[in-house]
Each structure stands twice: as C-alpha cells, then as structure tokens.
C-alpha cells in the first residue's frame, strides 16, 4: 500500500492538474518527442537554447499522471541550466527512478517522483520526457 501513497501525493496531483510549463515555444531551437506506443503516453518537448544554456522549456502531450507531471517538472527544472547541467540532471533523475537510488538533493521538486522506482511498470512513463530531453541535447534520433 505504501507504494501508492508514496507516489500519488498531492504534489503529483497538482503538477498533473495544474502544470506550470505546459505549452509550446514558438522560438524553440530544439524539439523532441517521446512516445510509448504500447500504452499511448506521449510527450513533446520544446527547448530554447542559447549558446550553452537552456533559456526556456515547455512540453505538450497526453497520458498518465506520471508521464505528464514528469515532463512538467523536467521543463521547470532545466530552465536556466547549461546543457551539461541538464544532462547531469537526467543522470540523477534516472538514478532515482530506474535504479531506485536515494534522490540527489539537486533533484529538488523532482523527488516527487521517487516513488516510481517501486512501480517497475511505471518507470517508462516517468522517463519518457527525459529520454526526449537526452535525444534533443545529444542530437540522436
């Protein structure tokens, strides 16, 4: 039981219902999408990068609370960060939700999603936006 209470907290609900960074960026320099074809979750990221720095980030998409809140938290967290810092954040986030490591303090509000680590079926929801971020920054397709 604790597993569900850990994840489905009010903080997650708020993020899901009242996201802070939902929307597009008309002057985005990077866009990148992520989809879970099997479950239908979808996230699109928009980044405005200036030199080495992410000046703005937004997302659109649809899906479960985990995938959407994760995208919203991501967008908020990377704004103002340099690309290396953002990639470091990806690493820290995945360590928390994939490997179940104690959250790095740098994760801030992202710690809301720590509970995902105990729900293996939801890990791919939580990481959807983060994989898109990695692709965008590393130029993979």
């Amino acid at each position: 039981m604790g597993v569900l209470e850990d994840l489905y907290q009010e903080a997650l609900l708020l993020r899901y219902k009242s996201p802070k960074r939902r929307g597009t960026l008309p002057d985005a320099t990077h866009t990148s999408g992520g989809k879970n074809p099997s479950c239908g979750d979808r996230v699109e990221l928009f980044l405005k990068v200036n030199g080495d720095r992410i000046e703005a980030a937004r997302f659109t998409g649809e899906g479960c609370a985990v995938s959407q809140a994760s995208a919203d938290l991501l967008a908020e967290a990377v704004e103002g960060k340099t690309i290396p810092e953002a990639l470091e954040l990806v690493r820290a986030f995945k360590a928390m939700v994939v490997e179940g490591k104690p959250p790095a303090p740098a994760l801030g509000d992202l710690q809301i999603l720590a509970g995902v680590a105990k729900l293996p079926s939801r890990v791919k929801c939580a990481t959807l936006a983060w994989n898109a971020l990695e692709s965008a920054l590393l130029g993979e397709r």
Binding site: V3, Y8, G40, G63, A65, V66, C125
Partner: protein, 405 residues
C-alpha cells in the same frame, strides 16, 4: 462448468495463488494439458513436417494435419483444407488484405467499422492507400453497438470487402454476424470476420455464419503464442494468390517462375508453427470439453455481475451495451484519472487488467473516452474475481478522490 475446478488445470494460478487475472482478452492463460501436449510432441514425435519419408516426420505430419482437422471441427468448417495456420489474428488479416488486393480497384470501397481493433483496420487502410480505394467505417452508437441503418446505407455503395469483428475487444459487443454477413455477401462483398475475441468464448459454426473468412487468435483461446487458425471458404482459397512465398507452398520452381500448390499449402510458406498448432488443437479440445455454451454463459454471468457492481461505483464510466449481445469484457474510466494510474492501483492489489487504447484508437476517439482500463473474463475467473475488482474500484474511488473530475 465449475471455474474453481477448472482453475486447478492452470499452472499459473499455482505459481500466483493470489492473482486475479482479468486480462484474457489480451491473451489467455494455458491449461496444463496444452503445455503437456507441446512438450510431449517435441519430446516424442518431432521432426519437420511434409518433406520427410521416415517415421518421425510422418508422425509429426499426421499430428499437424490432425490439428488442422480439430481446428476445422472447432470452427465448424466443412473441410480441413479451409483452415490455414498463421501466427496470430493480425497476420490473418494481413494475409487476406494482400491476397484479396487484386480484387480492389481505384474508387472501390472497403468497409470496416469504428469498433475495429487496429489489426482489422490498418491492413485495410494500407490496402486502400495502395489501390486508390476508399476506406469507410460503420459508426458505433452511443451504447456501443453497430449502427445497422448506416451499415445498410454503406452496403448500398457496393463495397468490395466488408470486414468487421465478431466481438469487440473494448465494448464486449457481440455483433449480429450472420445478419451482417448475409447482407454483405448479397451486396457482392467478400466478408471477413475478425473472430479474435469471439472464437475463444462463443459456440461457433463458420459454415453457418455465412462469412467468407474468419480470423482467430490462438493465444487468446488457451493455445500457445505463434499459431492461429484462419478459416476461409475453399472456393475462395482456391482462387486466391499466395501471400508469403518460399518452400512448402510451391509445386514447381525455375529461376524464371513458380507454380503454387493447392490450399492450404499455398498459404503456409516455410516451416509452419506446427508444434504450436498441435498444442492449439489440444486447447480447442479443452474448450470443447468445458462446453462452449457453458463458457459463454459463464462469461456473460460474470460480466452481468461486474456491470451491476461497477455501476455502483460513484463516477465510474462504463463502456459497452447491456443485454444478451454482451460478452465478458468491460472497459471503464474515472474522468480525470488516467487509465494507467488506475491500473497501477489495481495491480498493487493483485488485479491484472489492461489500460490504454486497447489497439482501438478510433473507437476511443469516437466515444470521447480517453484511455480506458479493461477487465476481461474467461472460464477460470470466478465471482470472487469480479467482487475483488469491484471492491478495489471503490477503494480507488476513495484513494484518488481529489483526482477524479
């Protein structure tokens, strides 16, 4: 038919005694008899079929052709040659879309319905795109039935192919196949029925149903993955060109050209999934022994119980019709709460359900339902399974109170 007794035949419930498995519409569990048939076949009479002149190969070929006979009987086919073994329902539809392709010209219509699984939609969409034909869809009413007036209207346009499901994997609706098939054939169409959800659950007689082709899915009817029976009228099989080509389906090959064998061989290129077919025949026998009317009556009793209980859950939206045309599937959602989040809640209580669009995106779009969570019943499910689902949904209602719109 006592599910408490049958359950003991399914090793998965020994390995997971607390499991409430409500995802048989995606794939069913397997009885011990099927697993034993599979192992026994490999251990005692395995060799490649058809091309050997020694005892083991003869024995394997005989087992494979016996499996074809069993599936023919199970489906109600008049002749075992009408049964072609394919991998899954999806391959069945693709084979037909390809083999029937030569009959479709630019401007022709192909008719499907809004409740189709992607398996019985995308291959026709592709065929329409390649041939310049038009794909049209019979609408679904609000209760989740086919709009029969619209069906008649669309038939009047003279579609070359009419493809629809026997039972919807989302709504549980059992369509009036015999009536639809009769009208469609009278209108000159080739009729393809997607029986992936129906064949495991309903008594069936394809010869009487009146369709031209009937698609099934072996792994949803207690069989292993990898083998499914595709039925078609012999006269049609005899006219159609092959789909896959290679060994086993030819009569003569030169570097310049090939002549193809008679059906069913013409449609089974390469080494078929014959061990799986043998095990699938065991599954068919298991269902026959359980009693196919009894299986459907049981499904219906469970879905009635589920609908009655789930209607009491505040705010829960239920999809699909009520009545004798309702099979053992129920899809639902709480507005504002995503299906995956609900499924996770249920999974944490040992209740295995599926969430998402269930490979029926157009239907979900049409019904204005977001992703849904689906429970589906089969012969090993009990009333207790239904009750545990209902209780868990009541708890979910409380747990997610702030989430639900």
């Amino acid at each position: 038919m006592d599910p408490q007794v049958l359950r003991k035949d399914f090793p998965i419930f020994e390995a997971h005694p607390e499991l409430v498995f409500l995802d048989s519409a995606a794939s069913s569990q397997k009885p011990r008899a099927v697993l034993e048939a599979l192992t026994r076949f490999y251990a005692t009479r395995y060799a490649n079929v058809h091309r050997g002149g020694y005892a083991l190969s003869e024995a394997a070929t005989e087992a494979y052709e016996d499996a074809r006979k069993t599936l023919a009987r199970f489906l109600g086919a008049r002749d075992p040659r009408e049964v072609v073994f394919v991998r899954n329902a999806t391959e069945g539809v693709n084979l037909l879309a390809h083999a029937l392709g030569g009959r479709v010209d630019p401007g022709d219509t192909i008719l499907v319905t809004e409740m189709e699984h992607h398996a019985n939609l995308v291959p026709w969409q592709q065929l329409a795109a390649h041939t310049g034909a038009q794909l049209k869809a019979v609408p679904v009413t609000e209760e989740g039935r086919l709009d029969l007036e619209a069906f008649d209207r669309l038939l009047a346009e003279g579609p070359k192919i009419v493809a629809f499901s026997h039972m919807s994997n989302v709504l549980g609706t059992v369509n009036p196949v015999a009536e639809l098939a009769k009208k469609a054939r009278a209108a000159g169409a080739v009729v393809v029925v997607d029986g992936a959800q129906a064949a495991p659950h309903l008594p069936l007689n394809v010869a009487e149903l009146g369709a031209d082709f009937y698609v099934t899915s072996g792994h949803k009817m207690l069989g292993p993955t990898g083998a499914s029976a595709l039925w078609g009228r012999l006269e049609l099989w005899q006219e159609l060109p092959p789909f896959l080509t290679g060994g086993g389906m030819i009569e003569e090959v030169t570097l310049e050209e090939s002549r193809f064998a008679e059906p069913p061989a013409r449609f089974e290129a390469g080494t078929p999934p014959f061990a799986e077919a043998v095990a699938l025949a065991e599954a068919a026998r298991y269902l026959e022994n359980a009693g196919r009317e009894a299986v459907f009556a049981h499904d219906q009793a469970l879905v009635r119980r589920a609908l009655a209980k789930l209607k009491e859950v505040p705010g829960l939206k239920l999809l699909g019709p009520e009545g004798p045309d309702r099979g053992g599937v129920v899809s639902f959602y709480f507005p504002g709460l995503h299906a995956h989040d609900l499924a996770t809640f249920l999974a944490e209580r040992g209740i295995a359900v599926r969430s998402g669009h269930h490979c029926a995106q157009p239907l979900h779009r049409k019904l204005g339902a977001p992703a849904t969570t689906r429970a589906s019943f089969y012969l090993y499910n009990t009333e207790d399974d239904v009750d545990r689902l209902a209780e868990a949904l009541i708890e979910a209602r409380r747990f997610f109170d702030a989430w639900i719109a």
